[in-house]
Symmetry: D3
Subunit: 264 residues, 6 copies
């Protein structure tokens, strides 16, 4: 791969990718609304507002793949989500369509299905049940990706990411954790595959406790190597037991499902 665009490069996932994908492409083009560290070797740094259509069309030129992490990644005021996640994602797909149709790894979220119970095992055919306005914007993004694939042959892997940190931070993440290493190997599997169409996947490591299945995507050959289990004792020692009548414990989305409306 010659040039890989990473949006949202100033965020948590963006930094993981900037570090972890070094050398995977000849050039990493890094973009964010926020300031980023200056470009190192084989890097391009482009500050860009995803809501600025002309800028995004420029940003997406001459790239062979896009890791779209940009936009807002937590619950937020609707008007902010509208700009960053609804308008911004549209601008990105238009850019891709007009600029050679690079494949896209779209950072969807477990919050697109967060109102399923933890006791339910999900697969790619499970109903969307967003747990937040943020989750609704991710459902929208998946629909947009489906449309661009069906009509324009712009391929996307919509990755419903669990929790990507160095290690799980609470009991819920024992089930939702994706290690940075597994995330990196997944991104490579996605861009190395001969074809993907529009594929919905769950971004999660090989944890002992599982809510989600990627069996349908086994053609990719991605087999996560890490498990949260090594952190279980530490996390359980440091936190109180979960209460089974708490919506944050009942539903997969955790606190996103139990929290009321953002603006109230």
């Amino acid at each position: 791969m010659k040039r890989l665009l990473i949006t949202g490069a100033a965020g948590n996932l963006g930094k993981i990718c900037r570090e972890g994908l070094k050398g995977y492409a000849d050039v990493l083009r890094l973009s964010d609304l926020a300031p980023m560290d200056p470009a190192g070797p084989n890097e391009e740094v482009v500050q860009c507002d995803l809501a600025d259509r002309a800028a995004v069309h420029e940003l997406t030129k001459d790239v062979d793949g896009i890791v779209h992490l940009g936009g807002i990644s937590i619950e937020a005021a609707f008007d902010d989500l509208l700009q960053a996640n609804l308008l911004g994602t549209y601008n990105l797909y238009e850019g891709a369509r007009k600029n050679g149709k690079p494949r896209i790894l779209f950072a969807s979220s477990n919050h697109a299905i967060g109102f399923h119970k933890r006791t339910t095992k999900l697969d790619e055919a499970s109903e969307q049940r967003p747990d937040s306005l943020y989750g609704v914007t991710k459902c929208y993004g998946e629909a947009l990706a489906s449309y661009y694939n069906d009509k324009f042959d712009v391929e996307t892997v919509s990755l419903r990411i669990g929790s990507c940190f160095d290690k799980p931070r609470n009991r819920r993440m024992l089930s939702t954790w994706m290690s940075p290493r597994d995330f990196m190997s997944l991104i490579k599997a996605v861009f190395d595959a001969p074809m993907t169409g529009h594929l919905v996947m769950y971004g999660v490591s090989n944890n002992a406790s599982k809510w989600w299945s990627n069996d349908h995507a086994a053609f990719l050959g991605w087999n996560p190597q890490d498990s949260s289990e090594q952190f279980r004792a530490e996390i359980e020692a440091a936190s109180e037991a979960e209460y089974r009548h708490d919506p944050a414990v009942i539903y997969q989305g955790g606190p996103f499902a139990s929290t009321g409306h953002f603006e109230d």
Copy 2:
């Protein structure tokens, strides 16, 4: 029912409802961005831009049900869809949430699933495959409805409407036609039901040729009475045969699926 709000009242479906639901509620509150005929008996007429949050919150006060037909109902420029269908629908749901949580009949569309082939029978569990940006906004509306039901107990029937006219207008509509009479009986079934949760349905009459199943919604007791079959001879005489390699014939969305990008 005391007061039923109908948005999009100046449009085709809105006029059908204004006429067909006379007497169903004590008062019909009719709303549109466009001018409407003056209020008759038992009517209130409120010109309102769905993108105006304060106005929409006012509009949704003191209503016992909402038939949400408002917004743009054909393919359009994204920036227009953003205002009318993305922002507008959010404003409507926020209004409903703050104003007593009336049940909502949301006019979704077959264009939310328009990239399925005609030879595929769909049900409520079928994957969304939007055929247009317009269709994407309907997928978004369904996700929003799911969220408001799960978190706030605002119930919605998301009705994927086929083609609602006095009679079918082309060969495709022999399969997608919903008679105004069947539409009216469906709306009544929806608001008369003790509960609906978030329910996805297909808005279609009892045509001989069927692409969609409402079996899962049989608890509503809605059984459409009309069929397009009586118009078949007339339509076939007046039109050329369909060509099986035409995307507009292959896909359920018809011309929405075969047309390129709106703005190109």
Copy 3:
């Protein structure tokens, strides 16, 4: 058919069968713990406690079919259900096994699945979710029927009866009503069929509002002729609207699901 045994003949369903099956068999053998009207022509009347094994073995001699309506048909104290429905049904199956293996129509109940929501469409593969101790005894009866079929080739149709009265008596019964006429035609279809194995069915007329599917049993050729719809106006006029947060409205079992423990 030469001789058909009807247990529970003194009850509501039993009386319907005694009247409705006149002439279907050469002899109707009628049994109940309670006193019954004296035997008419082509009838045998045998008072019998289902908990009395020897008596039941006698009762089941020389019969070509059994309509097993006996036992307790409402929520009751466990110790009473134990005798009538757990022990009694076992005695009946043992009688059948030892006496030539006549086919059995077992009156199971919608209360075997009463904790499913009304918005869920059930079929024969739906999970049992009993709503009462009574419902648990019906699940047990279905398991017993499965066992006797698999091991001893005693065939059973386990009929999850909705509400069998002259007409529906409340709003819930608009969905659960089975007319006596449809019940009789079903019994005949069951005993006329060349084979049934163990077959779970729903006992319900062709109502407009449907919660249950008998598609899997279409080989029987039973097509109910009646619908509750003719009684809708009368029932709705005579009763208050249902409240959607009432467990008796949410769940299919109605008041069985909403009522606490019998003995508290």
Copy 4:
């Protein structure tokens, strides 16, 4: 339709089609290995051995559709089936491929699925379970049709025909009967449809007792009008009851399933 080829025109189904499809196409081309009545108006009569490749390639020229009834339609010696049904059907598809790819109605048979029990409801996704060598050749024909559709865009409706006679002839046919009238309307629906791909259907009227579902093919708009029920009394009076341990009663294929090997 200008010219429709009917193979097997001298057989039972062929005669029904020759009579019933008069006027549907400008010309009916009728073919069989056996002698046929001379050509009437708008008819062409061509005696042809399906095992003769060159003759079949000639036969399939200049036709807009093919109703392929030819070959052996009962259990037979393998070597005869090899010629007529394995080689013959291949020749027919090759003819179609080389001669403009007319759509084909392939007379498959319920004997392709005859080892399913009568108590099992089948649909298009049900496993093939042939009950005879004849049935195996029909499975082969369906596989061939799938291949020609996927690779060469030769469309086929593989119709698993039940029993097509003026009226049902025995108790089994109360479930398997397809009236000649319904068969004719089905053929027309197949050739009038804009597209079919490779579609597996069951050829059966709207009988009260059903083993098979065509729900997946509802896009065709075919709704059979006849039912075997009117003949039930007559047939039951004229025949003995079925014995439930008889394989001919247990399995859908009837005597085909219970009969031993043809050549023993």
Copy 5:
């Protein structure tokens, strides 16, 4: 966990638990109808007849969890099963309901599904097919557990135990074996989970030959560590090959499926 009640503590599984769960709870309360070894440190020993309601209500006081192994665990006379497994299990659930609703691990059995063929892979949605009266009582127990969860929020894991011994004892157990170690880790996973609802699982180690799937229960994070494979050579050397027409080989229940009625 402060106090864990183990019923059936004098039996095979009970002894495994008494040993294997030492230290898991502050106190193990051990109960059986039969005499048990005297209480050691952190143990309470209570001889109790499960058919004695008052005694069971006393037994279930002040416990935080129940491992319900009590009752009869092999085929037996119905009247004995009635007391121990039908009445006894009811008494236990009533005790749990009245005494703070501790979670229950219910020892169900593979004999609840023993009439499925070995060639069929089962999951939690597979139909119950009991192979014995004993198996019927386990189906009843699962129905009771479902009821107490739905109505009273008493949670249960219904564990369909295969064969729990130090090592497999015959060829069938190569597929059904659950090691004591895996059983213990499962019990801990069940009681450590924040919630379970009513969950049906299969109690089996990670054997090479598998009949059952626990995929749906992956949220528990239980991953059995043992496999019967290490014992295969030894067992095959010591036993004759299985005969494929033997019902004990055809059906999962083994000899329970092939044996006739207990009392004959």
Copy 6:
């Protein structure tokens, strides 16, 4: 096992079996149309044309199992496939039926399902979609196997073999490769199992990239030990990237799906 017949013993798979199954049976009977190496110890070598019925009936005498690799294993002229794969396989099954009904391992092929996309995960219930005339003959073989099992109790494992070579030879084989070692262990598992009925399986190693599931066959206890992953770097270095619009890349059958008709 006393005597195992291997047909097609002169071919690639046949040689692998001849070597790999040494010692598994007392005698290996090796058969092919082509010349083979002379018989070694515990071997019988029989040159035989599968199209010669009498010879095949002789060939199948006194054998306890058959590995049927014979016939044509690539796309070929139909008339050749007719003799070798249609007639030949029939002759083999007739031989088996008349000679004691040994179990058969039938070498079916991934080309029986080759027109499924690589992005689709298949299991045993997936629709047949042959990609070649060769693939059609394999569908026929599976139907024949089903028939002989249902009617005559001749058991078969229809193994849809991927690519069985010492190592994968191209990028596609990274997904389809079955190592000779895994093939041998599978054959042993098949013949050691107490029963199989007719079982469709996929013949593939434990590769990282998976298109096919054998979960339904887990009762066999076969767990492949090899993976193509060790060869990935070598293969990718030696070959060009796959082009996603190439039918040979889109479809599982690879070049079989993309190649036109054999005889054109």
